[in-house]
Symmetry: C2
């Protein structure tokens, strides 16, 4: 189904455009008081900036255990040539492994951990499911840059996600520092939707997960956002957790430092925001990139001592 009047049009061969956000950033709902929910002050920051970083939410010991799991998973996925393993543009190294919460028990538990889930449900104001999970690698000496983008732009056009009611949760599995290409975000950018130029080719995702060519914001729109909000980078020790709105503009530079960077991404989507058909007659992307069938409510678990 294509919406008759889509408020978040993009890639329609029109000019680039900047559209005011039509959705809440934080949704009212039954989960405002969860054990690990954000404080009023934190929530204000999230509403204003479109992201919040929680330093040390997980311990470094936990993060180190998760990194170990992630490395095993990457190694095995590469060896088995699993479809969930996505390679760098040069085709040699694994850049990401998707759907890790279904492939691995530790990550299955992690995405349901109260410390993450309480915040996601609080922000989205409802029960949630995992729209996408992945481990992202930026190895030392060879990590590639990832250009500016809003995830929601892609999910709206290519996956048919109706509204801005999803939040990405990033668990830092290694230190992210000024040298190894940390995530950079534009504070406040989540309040504007950058409609992009150019139609989407069929099966674009196979390439776009490696290098984005459509759904790329134009420099004038980026200037507009950065002039208003500046830039911030999500640096921090392993175990820190970043939550960012699905429409926050973000990207990252290359990593020529010796310090490998590894992060776990889990995108929570509201159960009120299930995917519809992709736009412009595109075929749905695979389940491991955008969950359509596997949308079970997440059952919360208590954090484990470690």
């Amino acid at each position: 189904m294509v919406l008759v009047s889509d408020i978040y049009q993009s890639r329609t061969d029109n000019e680039a455009a900047i559209i005011l956000r039509q959705d809440p950033v934080v949704y009212p709902g039954p989960y405002a008081q969860g054990e690990f929910a954000l404080s009023e002050h934190q929530l204000r920051g999230y509403r204003k900036n479109g992201f919040i970083q929680l330093r040390g939410l997980l311990s470094e010991t936990e993060a180190s255990g998760l990194l170990h799991e992630a490395n095993k998973l990457v190694e095995a996925s590469g060896r088995e040539r699993r479809p969930e393993a996505v390679y760098e543009p040069d085709g040699r190294d694994v850049r990401s492994v998707f759907r890790v919460h279904r492939i691995n028990r530790v990550f299955d538990r992690l995405v349901r951990d109260g410390r993450l889930l309480d915040v996601a449900r609080q922000i989205l104001g409802s029960d949630v499911y995992v729209h996408q999970s992945r481990v992202n690698l930026k190895p030392g000496y060879a990590g590639k840059e990832f250009y500016w983008h809003s995830d929601f732009e892609t999910w709206h056009v290519e996956d048919g996600m109706p509204r801005m009611r999803a939040v990405s949760c990033v668990v830092l599995l290694t230190e992210n520092n000024e040298f190894n290409g940390p995530l950079m975000l534009v504070p406040g950018s989540h309040m504007h939707y950058i409609s992009c130029i150019g139609r989407t080719p069929v099966d674009h995702y196979k390439k776009s997960l490696r290098r984005q060519e459509y759904g790329v914001p134009d420099p004038t729109s980026l200037d507009f956002l950065v002039d208003r909000g500046g830039l911030q980078s999500a640096k921090g020790p392993a175990g820190s957790v970043l939550f960012f709105d699905c429409n926050a503009m973000h990207g990252s530079s290359s990593n020529i430092s010796p310090f490998p960077r590894a992060n776990l991404f889990c995108v929570y989507n509201s159960v009120e925001n299930h995917l519809r058909d992709p736009q412009a007659g595109l075929r749905p992307r695979p389940e491991f990139v955008a969950a359509r069938d596997d949308v079970a409510l997440l059952e919360r678990v208590e954090p484990r001592q470690s």
Copy 2:
């Protein structure tokens, strides 16, 4: 002439090797007391780290005037297709313009400015000339990374520079910040010479000024250096000046930020360290990359008020 026993051998098809520096870092000489010479404390830092950054040595107003000149020069050099203009790997944008101190009066004066020259002569302990000068651009949204290298390794092999007795001076023409790919240096790396693998093809420089493929240090050697010294990035406001030893290991990440980065490089070489023949039968690189004939002593000028 090829040295019979070269202490800084590289690219000889041997294994990579780490060779202890055989040269002083700061040379005794007649210029220890210049008006703008470094203090004992600063000199100790330079000796230890292989670099020193002087925040605000030039005013932001001066830097802004220099940036204006640099932009004019880049524009004209590109338009006239001057050989001194070197392009990005994709061939579209000018990455560097060389020999700017001979093309432009403002830069001619700048490289003789007491604030720079006093420090260069103090460190090298002798009169000096300009081995190479250039403006380096890293435009917003599109600046490319530059991988780790020691300049001396290249100058020794490709230009026949005999000893480590040259210093690079970098004038920040724009702010260099954590977002726009500032120069990263490995403190203490100047004390070890990383001998690289692989012979050098003829006319390598045409490509290497854009993207280095030979004279690239191996990861094990880089790990060795960074384990000992860590990393530092040369961030600072426009007008800040960085001096770094010719053998200091350095590189920089890509720049996807909207903030353009522009720096002026001037490499001072000691008059005791004139170039000899390149190694392994290579043809000398052009004069604008490595001065062989144009090696006049620099005559000092007093800084202008601004």
